[in-house]
Symmetry: C2
Subunit: 494 residues, 2 copies
C-alpha cells in the first residue's frame, strides 16, 4: 500500500472519530442535555466541525491525494474506491471559500431560529429576509462547487446528498411520477375502505417494551445501541454504538411503533456497514437516498405489509389488553395503508408523500436558478399543492413554513426521500425473487433472511459503488420507477 | 489587547471546547453507552486528546506565547494570570517527547486493564511487570518535566495536579499529621459511642428524590446539570451542563446521600467558575486539592455536622417512612462521624483517611526516586498500614491493589485528597468568622450564605491566584495544619 494512501487512511480515520464524537454530542443534545447547556454545546460542536473541516481542507491532504492518485496498481478495489471517496470529500470541502462557509453557518443558524418563531406565528414575511440570505449564499456555494466538479450548480449540490445522481436522473423519475400519481391517488381514494378507529390508552412503557421486542426481532443489537425518547425520532451514533430515538403518543398505539421500525431500518444499515472499512469514507452509508431506502424498506415495504400485521396483531393485543375487530390484522393493515390528501409532508402516506417531494424539488430548483424568488415562494407553494395534491393550505404554518430544510441550508436534499422510496420498491422486488418465502417468514416474525439479503446487497457494500452500480448489482438494473408504481398498484389498487 | 494574546485566547477556547466535548463523552461512557461502544469510544476520545495535544504543542502556540509575554503593560490582571496559565499548560505538554507520551498511554491502558483482573484475583505479581513499566516511564516523564520547569522530578509531577505546591510544602503538612493522627485515632476510638444501626429498606427512587432536593437546597441548578447513576460517583460535564452521578444502596439510607452531597460540592465549584473566563485556562478550577476542598466542605464540614443532620432527619423519616431513636438527628450524627481502623481508603472516615494518603504519598515518592522498587511495594504497603493505621491487609486485593491511580499513571495525585481536607477546614474556620450565623442557617436548610462565601472566595477566583495566594486572600494565611487538627479535636474529642 503506497505511503501517501496510508497517511490518508490515518487522517480520514481521525475525521471519522471526530464525526462519531459529534454524533454522540448531537444525540445527547436532543435526548439528555439540560437546557442551560445550549450555548456551550453549540461551541463544542462548532469546534469539532471546524477541526474536521481543517483536516479535510489542509494542503497536506491535497498533496497526499495527488500523490496517492498516481497510477501505481497497488491499491485493491476497496482502497481504490476509498481514494475516490476521499477526493470527493476533499473537493466538497475545498470548493467553498472559508468566508462563504462562515457566512453560511451564520445565515443558516439565524434563519433556523427565525423559522421556529415564524412557523409558530404562521408568518412567512418574518422568515423572508433570512431565507433570502440563505438562498443567495447557497447559490454562491452551488456555483463554487459547480466549478470544482465541472457540473451544473444543482448537480453539484445534489452530489453532497446523492452522489452520482444528476438533476436529469431525478427529472426522469419525478416527472412521470407527478403525471401518474394524482390519478392513482384519485382511484385509491375512491376504492379504499375506512378502517375502524384504534381507540384506547396505550401507555408509553408498553409501547417501548413492544418496540424493543420488534427491534430485536428485526436484528437490532442492544449490546451495540439503545432506544430513547426525543421530540423528533432519529437514528444517530456510530455502528457499534447506535442511538435511536422515538416518541410515544399514549392515544395512538401505532404511530410510535411505526416510527420505531422506520428508525430501525436506518439503524440496521449503520450497524451493517463493512466492519473493516467503518472509519474510512468507503465504509460510510452510500447516500441519503440509500439510507432512506433502508428505513422505508423496513417501515413501508415490510412493516406495513399484511404479513407483518398478522405477526404484530397478537402482540399488540397482549401488550395493551385490547381486542376486537379494530385490532385484527385486517383492520391494522387498513390503518397502515390508509391514504388521504394532506397538508403536512411528515404525516403523509406512501401514495401522497412523493407529491409533497415533487413540489419541493421543483421549487428549490427554481430558487437556485433564480426562476423563482423567495418572495414568490408562498404563492408557488399553494399553487403546487392545489395542482399536485388538490388541497389548499389554510395558513403558512401548514404550508410553506412546515419544513426546516431550506432555512437550515439543506437545499437539494428533499429528493432523497422519494429516491429512497423508489429504491426500496426496486430492492424488495429483487429480494422477493431471490427469497420467495420472505412474506411467510415475516408473518412468523422471522426477519433473518430479510436482514441477510440487505446486509449482503446493501449494508456491507458501504460506499464501494455508486448508486447506479449498487442497484444494478443488487437488482440487475439501475434505478427505475416501475417497481414503485407496481408496488402502489399491488398494495392500493389490487 | 495585543494581537498575540488575542490569538492565544482563541486557541485556548478551542482547547476548552474540545475538552468539554471529551467530558460529555466520558460521562456518556460511564452512564449511557452500550458495552459494544467501548472500542470506538476509546478511539474517539484518543482522537480528541491528540487534537488538544496538537494545539497545545504547536510551534505557533509557542511563538504566540513568546510574543505575548513581551512586556507591554496592556494586559489586565486576569489576562496576565491567564497568560501564565497558558504558558504552564504549554510547558507541561511540550516537556514530554511525543514518543514518551505514546508509550505512557499504551503502558497505562495496559496496566489499568491488568489491574482490574489482578485486583479481582488479589494477585499483585500479575500487575507487577505492567506497573514497573508505568513507573519507569513516569520517572522519565518526571525528569523531562523537571528539566522544563527547573524543579525536582516530584515537584514537576505535582505541578500537574497541585500547581505551586512543592514536595517540601506537603512534607511540612503530612509529617506532623502522620505523627499526631495515630494517637488522635486511639483517643477517638476509646471514647466514641457506637451508633444504633439504620435498619430498613430505602428505595433508590426515594434516595434520588431526597438527593435532588438536597442538591437544589445546596444551590445546584437542574437547568444547568443533571443527576444520574454510575458504578462510581463522579462529577463531570462543563459549567452550564454539569453531569453528576451517584449510586444507590437500598439497604443503606445514608451512603448514597453522602456521595450526592460530596459530588454536589464539586458541582458547585464548577458551576461557580468565573463566567467571563470559563473557556480560558484562568477560568478553570485552581487545582485538584482545591476541588477536593469544595467537595469535602459540603460533605464533611457541612453535611456531617450536627446542624445539617437536624435539618435532614425529618426529611429522611418522611421519605422512607422510618422513625425512632435510630433516625434521630443525634444518632444520624453519630453515624456520620463514626471512626474505625479500616483497610480501604474510599470507605475511610475523616480521621483515618489522611493516614491512607500519607502511606501512598510516601510510597509513590520512594518509587519515583528509586528508593523503592515495584517488587517491594506489597511489603512496604503492609508495613505502612501496620505503622500508620494499626491494621494488616489480609490479602493484596484489600491492600496494595485497591486503587487504580498508579496503574493508570496518576503518580503524585494522592496528596490532593488530604490537601483538600486541610484546606476545607481552614476555609470553614475563616467562613465562620465572617458568617457566625452559618450553623443556625444550616440547621434550617438555608445554604445561601455558605454558597455566597464560597462563590466569592473560591469559585469565582478560578485560577487567578496560586493556591497560597488564594488561601491567604480567603483566610488570611497560607495553608496550615492547625485548623484541620482543631476541627478533628472539636468534632471527635470535645
Amino acid at each position: 500500500m503506497p505511503e501517501a494512501y496510508r497517511a490518508l487512511e490515518a487522517s480520514f480515520a481521525r475525521i471519522s472519530h471526530l464525526r462519531g464524537a459529534l454524533s454522540v454530542l448531537q444525540w445527547d443534545h436532543q435526548v439528555m442535555m439540560p437546557p442551560g447547556g445550549n450555548g456551550v454545546r453549540a461551541e463544542q460542536m462548532a469546534t469539532l466541525r471546524e477541526t474536521v473541516h481543517g483536516l479535510l481542507t489542509s494542503p497536506e491532504t491535497g498533496e497526499l491525494l495527488d500523490r496517492a492518485e498516481q497510477p501505481s496498481g497497488e491499491l485493491d478495489p476497496w482502497q481504490a474506491a476509498n481514494l475516490c471517496e476521499m477526493r470527493r470529500s476533499h473537493l466538497h470541502a475545498t470548493a467553498v471559500p472559508a468566508d462563504l462557509v462562515t457566512a453560511l453557518v451564520r445565515a443558516t443558524t439565524t434563519a433556523e431560529m427565525t423559522w421556529r418563531e415564524a412557523r409558530k406565528r404562521s408568518d412567512f414575511a418574518m422568515l423572508r429576509p433570512g431565507l433570502e440570505e440563505v438562498v443567495r449564499l447557497t447559490r454562491e456555494e452551488a456555483s463554487a462547487k459547480a466549478e470544482a466538479f465541472g457540473s451544473s450548480p444543482h448537480d453539484a449540490l445534489l452530489d453532497g446528498y446523492e452522489p452520482g445522481t444528476t438533476t436529469a436522473d431525478i427529472d426522469a423519475l419525478f416527472e412521470p411520477l407527478a403525471a401518474f400519481l394524482p390519478e392513482v391517488l384519485e382511484r385509491v381514494l375512491e376504492r379504499q375502505t375506512e378502517p375502524l378507529p384504534l381507540d384506547g390508552h396505550f401507555p408509553a412503557a408498553g409501547q417501548k417494551l413492544l418496540g424493543e421486542r420488534l427491534m430485536s426481532a428485526l436484528g437490532f443489537d442492544f449490546e451495540r445501541g439503545r432506544l430513547d425518547e426525543s421530540l423528533h425520532p432519529f437514528c444517530g451514533g456510530v455502528p457499534d454504538d447506535i442511538r435511536m430515538t422515538t416518541r410515544y403518543d399514549e392515544d395512538d398505539a401505532f404511530s410510535g411503533l411505526l416510527a420505531i421500525v422506520h428508525e430501525t431500518g436506518h439503524a440496521l444499515y449503520n450497524a451493517g456497514l463493512p466492519r473493516d472499512w467503518r472509519h474510512q469514507p468507503v465504509g460510510k452509508p452510500r447516500s441519503f437516498g440509500v439510507h432512506e431506502s433502508q428505513s422505508l424498506m423496513v417501515e413501508m415495504q415490510v412493516c406495513r405489509s399484511r404479513e407483518f400485521l398478522q405477526y404484530l396483531a397478537p402482540s399488540l393485543s397482549e401488550t395493551f389488553g385490547v381486542d376486537g375487530a379494530a385490532f385484527s390484522a385486517d383492520n391494522l393493515y387498513r390503518q397502515a395503508i390508509r391514504v388521504e390528501r394532506s397538508l403536512i409532508r411528515v404525516d403523509a402516506d406512501e401514495v401522497t408523500y412523493p407529491l409533497h417531494i415533487v413540489l419541493r424539488y421543483r421549487l428549490e430548483k427554481a430558487l437556485l436558478t433564480g426562476d423563482l424568488t423567495v418572495g414568490d415562494l408562498p404563492g408557488a407553494w399553494n399553487e403546487g399543492m392545489r395542482e399536485l395534491l388538490g388541497v389548499e393550505p389554510p395558513d403558512e404554518r401548514r404550508g410553506v413554513l412546515q419544513d426546516i430544510h431550506w432555512p437550515s441550508g439543506a437545499i437539494g436534499y428533499f429528493p432523497c426521500y422519494t429516491l429512497g422510496a423508489i429504491m426500496a420498491a426496486q430492492l424488495r422486488a429483487a429480494m422477493l425473487e431471490a427469497e420467495p418465502e420472505l412474506p411467510s417468514q415475516i408473518a412468523k416474525g422471522d426477519f433473518s433472511r430479510l436482514l441477510a439479503w440487505l446486509r449482503a446487497n446493501v449494508h456491507e457494500q458501504g460506499s464501494r459503488y455508486d448508486v447506479r452500480e449498487l442497484l444494478t448489482r443488487a437488482t440487475g438494473r439501475p434505478l427505475e420507477l416501475q417497481p414503485f408504481l407496481a408496488h402502489l398498484e399491488a398494495r392500493y389498487l389490487a
